[in-house]
């Protein structure tokens, strides 16, 4: 076997392992999310699924997976077969493809360290709305179509603040490679640019369609949104893709703002990086689950207004603030990592205070305008 073919084999094996990883993690995460959400709502969650569910119903998801695999795949009569079948495939493929550039540890624990890693994540994610459009269009169902409309208008819009806030770790570390971004985080970027972290988190929550942005499938309004007509494992593929997207969003947030695999003793034991990264991702994931359990669903106009009138301007303001303050500090001769981080944190907190002031001012004036419109009380 020549060296070239051995290299190809190595990459293929790495890619295979990396594709298995999110799928395996999701089996556990579905159980975890159900348990955590149940506790938040004062329930017990799954406790046992017959004899084989194991302690705390750990193997509940396996039972569900086997059940869903044995179910019939129903393709509606009027549906466009090819597109209908391709949609769930594309959903899972896109969700897994992002994992090619995620660094699980210092060296080697990554399929490829692309020098455009962060950009690759954004570029591949831009394929995701198509699986929803394809599902919604090919189903020939008005609920599915409404779900697809909502998904597109939401995801395309929220991509903008997501990219704007993604630029801040890129700017601070001077690289698009996720590995270099992690290595540059001597201070986690959530402590350097908390406003950017907030914008990125909210935009990611909207991208993965988690409550309060869960409009594309809004089960109490439009059945199940774009995948209303799916059954069996094709439904399972959408469910799986959605959970992988949630995990991916948490992992990307941990990589960009929480220092990725960095933690104690990673230098001695590189494999420990996976543990630290997954712990951080689990923390972020549980915030998403908390949203899921506790938030009401917004209306579509509220979701779009929140994006275009709040997140996009805030992302632009944050980008300008960080760029100008960082440049000013470098010009003034402040080059130490800690000093720069402190300066940027101060600038971010000032920006946050200004935004809070503007928000309370606007809401007060809105309330006043509404109270003027109220018809005067007529006393008899």
């Amino acid at each position: 076997m020549t060296d070239a073919w051995r290299g190809v084999l190595n990459v293929l094996l790495g890619a295979f392992a990396m594709a298995i990883f999110p799928l395996a993690a999701v089996i556990f995460l579905i159980w975890e999310a159900r348990k955590v959400m149940a506790r938040m709502q004062d329930r017990l969650g799954p406790t046992n699924a017959g004899t084989y569910a194991g302690p705390f119903a750990l193997f509940q998801t396996f039972a569900d997976a086997i059940k869903i695999l044995t179910k019939e795949l129903i393709i509606p009569t009027g549906a466009d077969r090819g597109v209908f079948v391709m949609a769930p495939v594309l959903m899972v493929a896109v969700a897994i493809a992002v994992w090619a550039v995620i660094p699980l540890g210092p060296t080697g624990l990554q399929v490829v360290d692309l020098d455009i890693g962060a950009f690759y994540v954004v570029a591949i994610s831009s394929l995701a709305p198509f699986s929803m459009i394809m599902a919604g269009w090919s189903s020939r169902n008005k609920y599915a179509e409404v779900g697809a409309f909502r998904a597109v208008s939401q995801i395309v819009g929220y991509e903008i603040p997501q990219v704007l806030s993604l630029l801040i770790p890129v700017m601070l570390s001077g690289s698009l490679s996720l590995q270099s971004i992690i290595r540059a985080q001597n201070v986690p970027y959530i402590l350097v640019a908390p406003v950017a972290a907030l914008v990125f988190f909210l935009a990611s929550a909207a991208e993965v369609g988690r409550l309060p942005f869960e409009l594309a499938e809004a089960d109490s309004e439009i059945v199940a949104g774009f995948f209303t007509e799916y059954s069996g494992m094709m439904f399972g593929a959408f469910y799986l893709g959605e959970f992988i997207n949630n995990l991916t969003a948490s992992v990307i947030f941990s990589v960009l703002f929480l220092g990725g695999w960095r933690g104690p003793w990673v230098d001695q034991v590189p494999l420990l990086g996976i543990v630290w990264l997954m712990l951080k991702a689990l923390l972020v994931f549980n915030v998403l689950v908390l949203f899921w359990a506790a938030m009401p669903r917004l209306r579509i106009d509220q979701v779009l207004a929140f994006n275009w009138k709040f997140l996009v301007p805030l992302g632009l303001a944050e980008l300008l603030t960080v760029a100008l303050v960082d440049k000013a500090m470098v010009t003034a001769g402040v080059t130490g990592g800690i000093e720069r981080a402190a300066g940027l944190l101060a600038a971010n907190l000032l920006l946050g205070l200004a935004v809070a002031g503007v928000l309370s001012q606007t809401s007060r004036s809105t309330r006043q305008r509404q109270s003027f419109r109220r018809p005067p009380v007529v006393h008899p």
Partner: protein, 165 residues
């Protein structure tokens, strides 16, 4: 490299087939999906040319931007989403326009004085060089800024056209 040529051959065939399906599909939504497949194959070709940045741009601009806009335009067009919508059959005039456009482009490419051997190899990472060239006053700073002004004009124009009366 043998493997690279093999992949290029497969991807090229898929790309051409998808491009042909774009113009022969009866449903306009299918045409849009085949267009996306064709764009995706172009991104793979950029990857084969060891230019991941161009591949990312291809995905981001053409699929994330242009294809999404195309699909949204189809979605908000009356009856275009329904099952029996056919593309307007005005095939012959479209063919004449397309063939003449192809002729002009082919002629231009044939006339172009392409270098026969590779130019200066880029030392190290090419991405920072590209970024520096875009914001270097001696490089492409002026065109870069003109493009951003143009985009702002487009944005304001769209807001003006789309305002509520």
């Amino acid at each position: 490299m043998y493997l690279g040529q093999l992949i290029f051959l497969i991807v090229g065939c898929v790309m051409v087939a998808a491009a042909i399906r774009v113009v022969t599909s009866h449903r306009i939504f299918h045409a849009a999906l085949w267009l996306i497949a064709s764009f995706f194959c172009v991104a793979i070709v950029y990857m084969l040319l060891e230019s991941p940045f161009m591949a990312g741009i291809q995905l981001f601009i053409y699929i994330g931007g242009i294809a999404v806009l195309t699909v949204v335009a189809i979605m908000v067009t009356k009856d275009a989403m329904s099952a029996d919508s056919r593309t307007v059959s005005n095939g012959w005039s479209a063919a004449i326009v397309a063939i003449s456009l192809f002729g002009v482009m082919a002629w231009t490419i044939v006339q172009l004085d392409l270098p026969t051997e590779p130019g200066m190899p880029v030392s190290g990472d090419s991405l920072p060089l590209l970024g520096a060239a875009l914001v270097d006053p001696g490089g492409y700073l002026l065109p870069f800024e003109v493009v951003s002004v143009l985009l702002t004009v487009v944005l304001i124009g769209a807001l003006f056209l789309g305002r509520e009366h």
